[in-house]
């Protein structure tokens, strides 16, 4: 910023205060509910003020549920999701922006289209694919008649089978198949001065060196932002981990948390315990935010001429 505009700074501060209250309000309620007892809640419902049962509720999460252990799974899923999304998105955006390829537009459109339908409404068919990731290949072989040919030559048709259900790969892969990261990196690359690319090429940098020496360091901010955001969304994913994992030891903490809500009529959920669980489950993401916050939005001041 150029100058100290006091009036503006005061307004900005006010805006941030309001924004933080907006964000913190629901979080405070989570915490205040987590600190009530179930009996209290049964009689009074949620409360605006905190009680004294927070530790007890948290303790029962540790003793009565597998959530603490499931957090390890969440960790694996969230981390692999973030890492894979960052890396793959970065690479594909790189190919789309920096290579002279005729199909760049098509590929980008294909990737971008994935933001249009959430996993939630294609979860059934995704489950079918995950239960045998070769099924599309088999289907293609069948449909093209190739399999008939193969069957005639080798005796049996090709029917490959590999289920990724209940594996970490299976939990993560459908989450990674999403275009946000690619879109984000593409937009970022488009704002980089063209001459940097030219300079690097003059310096003899080929695609690999340009990628590692120039693009990657310059993208650090975008990388960190995407990493944190995908980590968090991986962490809080619900439906796919629920569907894709069948054994409790593959399930993630959020799934475990949702299991605390009873399904049958008239059973009043133990909200204090659930909220205590939510608090515990949120600890790692919040720590992650605090840790990487520094990189999140650190501006990269490009020195032009």
């Amino acid at each position: 910023m150029v100058e100290n505009a006091r009036s503006l700074n005061i307004i900005a501060s006010l805006i941030l205060v309001v924004g933080m209250i907006y964000i913190l309000g629901p979080l405070y309620l989570t915490l205040s509910t987590a600190s009530q007892s179930y009996e209290f809640m049964l009689r009074n419902g949620l409360a605006w003020y905190p009680g004294d049962q927070l530790l007890a509720n948290m303790a029962s999460i540790f003793t009565e549920t597998r959530i603490p252990i499931q957090m390890l799974n969440s960790m694996v899923v969230a981390f692999s999701n973030a890492a894979a999304t960052c890396v793959l998105s970065f690479l594909s955006a790189y190919a789309i922006v920096y290579f002279r390829i005729r199909w760049a537009g098509v590929v980008f459109a294909l990737i971008l289209a994935t933001i249009m339908l959430p996993l939630d409404i294609r979860v059934i068919t995704t489950y079918q694919v995950a239960s045998n990731i070769f099924s599309p290949l088999n289907a293609v072989l069948d449909a093209t008649g190739l399999n008939g040919l193969i069957a005639r030559i080798f005796g049996t048709p090709v029917q490959l089978e590999l289920s990724v259900l209940n594996t970490h790969f299976g939990l993560v892969a459908p989450l990674v198949a999403h275009g946000t990261g690619t879109f984000l990196f593409r937009q970022f690359f488009l704002t980089l001065p063209k001459d940097l690319f030219k300079a690097a090429r003059m310096d003899g940098a080929g695609p690999t060196r340009f990628l590692f020496d120039i693009l990657l360091p310059l993208s650090r901010t975008s990388f960190a932002a995407l990493f944190v955001l995908t980590f968090l969304s991986g962490w809080t994913q619900y439906l796919w981990p629920l569907v894709g994992a069948s054994t409790p030891d593959m399930q993630t903490a959020v799934v475990g948390l949702a299991r605390l809500v009873p399904d049958s009529e008239g059973q009043v959920p133990d909200f204090p315990m659930i909220m205590a669980g939510a608090v515990i489950v949120s600890i790692i993401p919040l720590a992650m935010i605090a840790l990487l916050q520094r990189y999140l939005v650190q501006g990269l001041v490009l020195s032009e001429k």
């Binding site: 009996e39 049964l42 009689r43 009074n44 419902g45 979860v123 059934i124 068919t125 489950y127 079918q128 239960s131 045998n132 099924s135 289920s163 439906l239 629920l242 569907v243 069948s246 054994t247 409790p248 799934v255 949702a258 299991r259 605390l260 809500v261 009873p262 399904d263 049958s264 009529e265 008239g266 059973q267 009043v268 959920p269 133990d270």
Partner: protein, 414 residues
């Protein structure tokens, strides 16, 4: 053999299911059941569908009442009665049996976690308003409600207007059909008729009573939910699932006295059975003999009175075989709150039945429940009259039925 059982429940029900699985595995060494919670009936069903198509489905799958027809027509399950012909299926109380059996009386699935609709009152509050006799008919309820209101009570009677409660169970116990062809038992070409039965009048009454401040809906309560409102003492009476009992009793402890009885009738109507709620267990096709043996063993185990009692005590679901009541009586704990709903629940489901109170056998029924809710909510909100709401729910429901019929063209209802 090692078998898998997929269930949908969560919370304390899940805990109880797991305990039963563990108990089964501990009780014998021949079979091993892995019980996989799917988080909800819907997810369990969807996964079963996908898994069945990918041919890695489990042997046993639990599913809830409203999806019965889908499984009957799926071609993916075998009737339990075929697999376990030697079991005395008649031991199941009629209300539970009829819901899951074919039109010619063959039980398709084994009823598991079962519930039915009951009537709850906050005796303390009623007495405070000078009502000493627990009301049993709608007329009495409304009279009591007026008294409560006069006494300054903000919420005399509460319901959520859920299809299961206000239409299905109401129609059943009043002996009213919901759809033609005996609620579809006699063919996929059924049509909805509820908009022409006494149920329509009842629903219109609810609207009037709500306007009068006697009946409240979820949204009218501080708690935001009818059971929570009842539990907190905010509302004095409610119609709710048998499953509500445990939480209510716990919330009332030391503060209020609770009564629970059969759901209210209109005067002049003969009481019929209520439907069974909850879910039952199906055996899926495509498994070898050893696995079927395992499944049989597990189903046998679950049917045992001790297991049913355990389940009832742990969850508030009601037992559904006649022998269990005897065992409860023998156990000396018959008056324990654990089993408070057992006897009354069974009694309610064991009331005289007609061909229209066997159950519901209607296509895309879950979608219909949504349609019904949507339309009646509009009526409660005053956007349309209840009759208009019911008429359009019927119309939309019939469309669903026709499409379902077309989808299963050529399929025969078992």
């Amino acid at each position: 053999a090692d078998i898998e059982f997929w269930y949908g429940n969560t919370g304390n029900v899940e805990t109880a299911i797991k305990a039963q699985c563990d108990a089964f595995n501990a009780a014998q060494s021949e079979h091993r059941v892995t019980c996989v919670g799917q988080g909800s009936y819907e997810v369990g069903m969807q996964k079963a569908i996908a898994a069945y198509r990918a041919k890695n489905h489990p042997v046993l799958i639990q599913f809830f009442d409203a999806g019965t027809l889908d499984l009957l027509l799926s071609g993916a399950v075998v009737p339990v009665q075929d697999v376990l012909p030697d079991v005395n299926w008649n031991n199941y109380i009629a209300g539970a049996r009829s819901y899951y059996e074919t039109s010619n009386g063959k039980l398709y699935s084994q009823p598991y976690n079962s519930s039915t609709l009951l009537f709850y009152t906050n005796k303390t509050e009623l007495e405070k308003a000078g009502i000493s006799k627990t009301p049993v008919t709608w007329e009495e309820i409304i009279e009591a409600a007026r008294k409560l209101k006069a006494a300054g009570h903000a919420c005399p009677f509460v319901t959520d207007g859920d299809t299961w409660r206000v239409l299905e169970q109401f129609s059943a116990r009043h002996g009213l059909p919901i759809a033609s062809k005996h609620n579809g038992y006699d063919g996929l070409d059924a049509e909805y008729v509820f908009n022409t039965t006494f149920a329509a009048k009842h629903l219109a009454n609810l609207v009037e009573w709500r306007k009068e401040g006697l009946v409240k809906l979820n949204a009218d309560t501080k708690a935001g939910n009818y059971t929570a409102a009842f539990n907190a003492g905010e509302c004095a009476m409610m119609e709710g699932s048998s499953g509500s009992y445990a939480a209510s009793a716990k919330a009332f402890e030391g503060k209020y006295e609770i009564t629970v009885g059969m759901a209210p009738m209109y005067q002049g109507y003969e009481r019929h059975n209520t439907f069974v709620g909850g879910a039952s267990i199906y055996i899926m096709k495509g498994h070898d003999k050893a696995e079927i043996e395992g499944a049989k063993a597990f189903l046998d185990f679950l049917r045992r009175p001790q297991q049913q009692m355990f389940f009832t005590a742990a969850t508030g679901y009601v037992p559904v075989t006649n022998d269990v009541l005897d065992v409860i009586a023998e156990s000396g704990e018959a008056d324990s709150p654990k089993y408070a709903t057992a006897a009354i629940g069974i009694e309610s489901m064991n009331q005289p039945r007609t061909p229209d109170t066997r159950g519901i056998r209607l296509g895309f029924y879950v979608q219909f429940r949504e349609v019904f809710m949507e339309e009646t909510q509009k009526a409660f909100a005053g956007q349309q009259t209840m009759q208009v709401a019911l008429d359009s729910a019927k119309k939309r429901g019939d469309e669903l039925l026709r499409r379902f019929e077309q989808t299963y063209k050529g399929a025969k209802l078992p």
